[in-house]
Amino acid sequence: MFDPNKKLHNDVPAEETAPEKKFRTPNRRDFLKGMAVGAGAVALSPIMPGQAKAVDIDVFAMKPSIRGEKVIGGRISHDPRKCAGCRVCEVACAMKNHGEVNPFKSRIKIYTYQPTVFIGVVCQQCGDRPCIEACPVEPDKEGRKALFEHPETKALAVDTERCENCNQCVEACESERNGNLRLNEDETPDGFCLLCGDCVKKCPQNALSLFPRTTDGKYASRNADVMAKEAIESIYGGYKTVMDNFK
């Protein structure tokens, strides 16, 4: 009998074809170049050339909320009432960030629950950052570990060169938050969100939105199973399975 009781996330199959490692920005050279060229605020942009360029929705242009809360970057939110589960967002993300048609590599994931509800899982940019906290890498002089908050976009970013492949950030995300962070084939963390907004733009049901982050995101980044239970209760309220009626 097969024993497929695997974890919901992170189950990258052992023997998988080696991918081309060309989409992992930044690398050490970019980093050093950035250090050499610029100083102060200017130095920040060449650090993450690929990631910084990816941001084409300006989160900072957004006004603070009417209640006057402080806006810290942005977050992508998923609405299970609108989502039709078409996976357009997954493919858009994989195309943009990995350059291939392969939703498995997407950083946003749509899970199907029964009765039919789709739960989108994407990095919620938690305010307390348990993943960064778990990272054992020594902070550099800017105070950045291998995982750090991007100074411009306030999104989670990864320096793959300094990553020690220890899996601790993934475990932290898995145990404390929605578990979207996972290990890539090269054993560096993947599943973080750049806030590039491509999934939001392409969603045909308008179920995704990118909005200013005013809370710590702990509520929105709960485990998908918990969110699904709640969504099913709120959408179908007191449902039965089809055949419960015919017994």
Partner: protein, 595 residues
């Protein structure tokens, strides 16, 4: 190998439990493209002429097309090609015809991500099994504990045991009990219903196929793809039809079709239903629906999910009405909205095709009304028009093969044989396949479709040769036909196909490929004993005129129909008997077919 394809076929023999991979034949690809086209070629090569659908050697092919999985609109369509359990020629009731049956969802892209274009299952297992595919790891697993489960329970159990990343196609109790119109279900609501592919899967004791993949699909020319893809999305999203499609799905036709007089009402006695306003999409929109469900890459999301909020069936979740659900409302004279929804949901849960089921129930109701059968023939169930509880009880008997369900689970011809010749007049079928909810007396041109469709009385084949060709190609490249009904042009799909695979097809090649596939399907049927005698419409269409609505007086005339049929054969390049001519076969490159 062309890009767009994964390049491999997975062949599983359930008798010997052998699994092997074979590469795709590029010559075949250029001729038959994929999906439905490749399927009919493989059936021609592998299926013995004259065999039945229960023959263990009969292959069942789950085939993707070159566009499946790519980010073009609605590319999640799976085509299942095998022998039909529903169609058989008058000359030889043991042989069965070709079946191509397609279903949306998320299964086919996953199969391609796993690295396979198609899965061909042959042989039959001795005890229930399932197939689990994770990239190149393919396992045949025992499925005793799932055997007997209904669709919903099975999906929940598989989610728990395998994980949510696996997508499954499965059969319900109806498929296990070899009901001749059992469907293959996917994600609870989606059914590959017409033609009884579920019975073929059930005869192989194959309960489910779960698949998951992590590889990428290649695109030949990314720049051309981007351009064509943008064009296709823009064309679809800016089309005038899309808002209606998104809001109601096919259910929007429920009241419209009644207005036109084209609906099937009380076993096709009428074309206009007086309670159409009640059993309509508007009612469902107000009373039931909570959201949409889309297939892979589909902006239309025509399927709606809903929950019944009051009454006897309250709390029941379901996929809501769609147009063909009219087979269980108007065709059975049902006025109880929630009872109707409960019936269609029960069909899905048992894994029955509710088009055929509704047709057979309507037939039984008429026979009961006319006194041809009595309650004793139906195990004491009094089957009056519109009795939803009797319908539910009969559906259960059919699904589990209990009592009269054994007979009802056959087909209309078996019922006519059992209940006497007088029923033949109102048995609405062609080639044994029960008709869908479109009434041809008021739909000119559709009679030839129902008569000649290769999988029997079928509403999806297309109303004329041009439409039929487009639908053949849709099924072959793995996209849904609804975006094109909503407003996307076939030219956009051709550009997408060329960009993805590196073909250099023109619209003429496109048409020719469709003609080739359709003609080969016809040749397969002819090799299995079908002829012009099987291209018929039921006697009711010639003898009873419609009496209500805008289509009042609509009736078919035998001589006119025969003339239309002659013309259709001539346009297709077939002779008067409906056999493809030798010249036509050679022109299409089908030299291996004996004219």
């Amino acid at each position: 190998m062309f890009k767009g394809y994964a390049g491999k076929i997975l062949e599983v023999d359930l008798t010997t439990k052998k699994i092997k991979e074979t590469p795709l034949d590029t010559k075949e690809l250029e001729m038959f493209i994929g999906g439905r086209g490749l399927g009919v070629k493989w059936m021609w090569d592998r299926a013995k002429p004259g065999a039945g659908y229960l023959d263990p050697d009969t292959p069942i092919c789950f085939i993707s097309g070159p566009l499946n999985g790519l980010p073009a609109p609605s590319t999640g369509r799976l085509t299942i090609v095998t022998r039909s359990a529903s169609t058989f020629p008058k000359s030889n009731p043991d042989a069965t015809g070709i079946l191509h049956s397609s279903v949306g969802g998320r299964w086919t892209p996953e199969l391609k991500f796993a690295g396979y274009d198609a899965l061909i299952v042959t042989g039959a297992a001795t005890s229930p099994v399932g197939i689990v595919i994770e990239n190149e790891k393919v396992k045949i697993v025992p499925a005793e504990k799932y055997w007997g489960m209904r669709t919903y329970d099975l999906q929940v159990a598989l989610d728990k045991d395998l994980g949510r990343l696996y997508k499954s196609v499965s059969i319900g109790p109806a498929g296990e009990n070899l009901v001749r119109y059992a469907s293959i279900m996917h994600e609870i609501h989606r059914a590959s219903g017409r033609g009884g592919a579920g019975a073929v899967m059930g005869s192989k004791k194959l309960k489910f196929i779960s698949v998951r993949g992590t590889n990428a699909i290649g695109i030949h020319d990314k720049k051309a793809w981007e351009k064509a893809n943008k064009h296709a999305w823009t064309e679809l999203l800016s089309s005038s039809g899309i808002e209606q499609w998104r809001k109601y799905g096919t259910a929007m036709m429920l009241s419209a079709s009644s207005d036109w007089g084209t609906e099937a009402v009380r076993n096709y006695q009428e074309g206009t239903y007086e309670h159409a306003d009640l059993m309509s999409a508007e009612t469902a929109y107000r009373k039931l629906w909570v959201g949409d469900t889309g297939c892979y890459m589909c902006p239309i999301a025509c399927l709606n999910r809903g929950v019944i909020r009051s009454g006897r069936f309250s709390g029941m979740t379901h996929d809501g009405p769609e147009y063909e659900g009219a087979m269980m409302s108007a065709n059975c004279d049902v006025k109880d909205f929630y009872g109707w929804i409960a019936n269609t949901a029960a069909s899905d849960d048992y894994g029955i095709c509710f088009i055929s089921m509704g047709n057979i129930l309507g037939f039984c109701m008429e026979a009961y009304e006319k006194g041809i059968i009595k309650a004793s023939d139906l195990d004491g169930i009094e089957l009056k028009w519109g009795d939803v509880d009797a319908m539910l009880a009969l559906q259960k008997k059919v699904a589990y093969g209990e009592g009269c369900g054994k007979l009802l689970g056959q087909n209309l011809r078996a019922l006519v044989k059992a209940w006497g010749k007088e029923c033949e007049h109102f048995a609405i079928e062609t080639k044994g396949q029960a008709w869908a909810a479109w009434n041809v007396r008021s739909m000119k041109n559709y009679e030839t479709t129902y008569m000649t469709a290769n999988r029997g009385g079928d509403h999806l084949t297309g109303s004329d040769i041009g439409t039929q060709n487009i639908r053949v190609i849709n099924d072959s490249i793995g996209v849904c036909l609804f975006p094109q009904i909503a407003g996307m042009k076939p030219e956009s799909l051709k550009d997408l196909l060329n960009a993805a695979t590196g073909y250099k097809l023109t619209m003429d090649d496109y048409k020719k490929a469709a003609e080739r596939i359709y003609t080969l399907e016809r040749s397969f049927n002819i090799a299995n004993g079908f002829s012009r005698e099987d291209d018929t419409v039921p006697p009711r269409m010639y003898k009873e005129a419609l009496t209500k609505g805008v289509a009042k007086g609509g009736i078919l005339k035998e001589d006119e129909t025969e003339k239309l049929l002659d013309k259709y054969y001539a346009d297709r390049g077939w002779d008067k008997k409906g056999n493809p001519t030798k010249a036509r076969l050679e022109e299409l490159g089908l030299n291996f077919v004996q004219a």
